[in-house]
Amino acid sequence: MTPYLAITDQPIDVAAALAAVQTDAAGAVNAFIGTVRNQSGGRPVRRLHYESYDSMALTQLGHVVAQAVERWPMLQEVAVIHRKGTLELGDVAVVVAVATPHRAESFAACQFIIDTLKQVVTIWKREEYEDGTEWVAAHP
């Protein structure tokens, strides 16, 4: 299985991500779609700016998918697409799509991939407010 992994400055085509994991061997396709929310901890957010260290992000994404395959060997297909650059409210920031024979593993593997992505993949998010910007999670 070769996962489809991408970091892009173009709008994410969710249908294309789902199509990328389509396979007759799978009875379940599960997708997580992360979108830009209008507030953060109660503070209104105008838009987000994502920055990526692309080569490392793709390397680490590959490790994340490899760990998922180790835990769920029945994984048939995986696609992970992350946006970078400036995103407006409601824009799709990330899509994780997986295909498995049955549904239980599809939920678990999809959640594992997005949760682990957030811990290790070298992408940074700067929130823009009415009165300035802040790098998310940078300070304790």
Partner: protein, 80 residues
Amino acid sequence: MSLKVSLYGITRDIVGTSVIELPAPAPTTVGELLAEMRKQYPALGELRSCAVAVNNEYASNDQPLHTVDEIALIPPVAGG
């Protein structure tokens, strides 16, 4: 031996450039590099974390550094 270190996110804002060159004698390990960077830029020490990547992989403090390595500071990531 000199080293080039790439900076991303808030570390680039702190240092003020996207690549910093450390002239010889440069730090020889990841731990020495972090100590040197924190000495020059104390604001790096205020971050929740600051890792070092060598050739696209997270590196431990005792890992040696070479001029040819692709080195980067990795502040707390926030994808998704």
